[in-house]
């Protein structure tokens, strides 16, 4: 598959995301925030970082970049879209996913190897995992506290749309320990932790993150 990774001004993890894509057996395609062009990709990743310096709100300005017009339209047609960290913030600001990410409740930037449970393996990005499996990937954020109103949280839980949940500790104050969610269709997934930093044994806490990228090959459902 051709998997596009968008680079915004201030993206940090676009290179790691492209590497993860290649390690998972796909072709990585660099996409530029200023282009109205997805270059024929089959899926899109919005990587981590601090796009536009996190000015205004994290992801708020990226949401209106030319490439996002195309990403939103493609997502609505069913194209798999994965938002990692800052990418998750962009997806929430774009209203492709409900809720928002606010400053960590303890005010500090957090960087740790985080244990997670994969709650939903029916999405385009998690079908390689067994349901309920526990994985460890890197987490690093300053504004990663997931919030939504109670009705939205109940809906997400009721429809099985909580994709990954924090285990052991809640690192940022996210409501109901939510680390990642999906849209109704299961093609758009956003999560705060960084699976692209856990794809090789040489660095990072192992290879538990690779499943997000290999899932694109596996049949959904």
């Amino acid at each position: 598959m051709k998997v596009g990774v968008v680079t915004f001004p201030g993206s940090l993890d676009d290179v790691d995301a492209r590497r993860a894509v290649v390690l998972a057996g796909h072709e990585a395609v660099a996409l530029w925030h200023g282009d109205h062009d997805l270059r024929g990709v089959d899926a899109v990743i919005l990587p981590g970082g601090f796009s536009y310096g996190d000015y205004l709100r994290c992801g708020a300005i990226s949401r209106f970049s030319p490439v996002m017009t195309e990403v939103v339209a493609a997502a609505e047609r069913g194209m798999p879209v994965l938002g990692i960290c800052n990418g998750f913030q962009v997806l929430c600001e774009s209203h492709l996913l409900p809720g928002a990410l606010i400053r960590n409740n303890h005010q500090k930037f957090v960087c740790r190897d985080q244990r997670l449970r994969v709650q939903n393996n029916k999405t385009a990005w998690t079908s390689s995992y067994d349901e309920g499996v526990e994985i460890t990937v890197v987490l690093k954020n300053g504004e990663g506290s997931y919030v939504a109103d109670a009705a939205t949280l109940d809906m997400l839980e009721g429809e099985g749309r909580v994709v990954v949940r924090y285990l052991d500790v809640n690192p940022n104050g996210s409501l109901r320990d939510i680390a990642g969610i999906t849209n109704e269709r299961g093609n758009v997934v956003g999560l705060m932790p960084h699976p692209e930093h856990a794809v090789e044994d040489l660095c990072g806490p192992g290879t538990d993150g690779l499943g997000f990228f290999t899932s694109l090959l596996a049949p959904v459902g």
């Binding site: 205004l56 709100r57 809720g99 606010i102 303890h106 005010q107 919030v147 939504a148 109103d149 104050g173």
Partner: protein
């Protein structure tokens, strides 16, 4: 030219860690009796031409679409020294 001010505040039910940190610093500085601090944003927009109801409606649209995130924030629009 008119100045329109948009104030954006986190909704009351959303935790404001920055406001909490500011509040926590106050007793250390000797200020007592401040039971809560909420931190928000103020935007000052210079609007060309006459400030009509239509222009104000546009500012409200700007506030809703870009300046605030309605999921977590409320905004108010007010004119400040209009015609200045």
């Amino acid at each position: 030219m008119a100045r329109v001010v948009v104030d954006v505040m986190l909704k009351p039910e959303i935790l404001d860690p920055q406001g909490k940190a500011v509040q926590g610093a106050l007793p250390r500085l000797g200020f007592e009796g401040i039971s809560d601090v909420r931190q928000g944003k103020r935007f000052e927009l210079e609007v060309d031409g006459e400030l009509t109801e239509q222009r104000l409606a546009e500012v409200r649209e700007i506030a809703e679409k870009l300046l605030s995130n309605p999921v977590i924030e409320d905004f108010t629009v007010h004119t400040d020294g209009a015609g200045a």
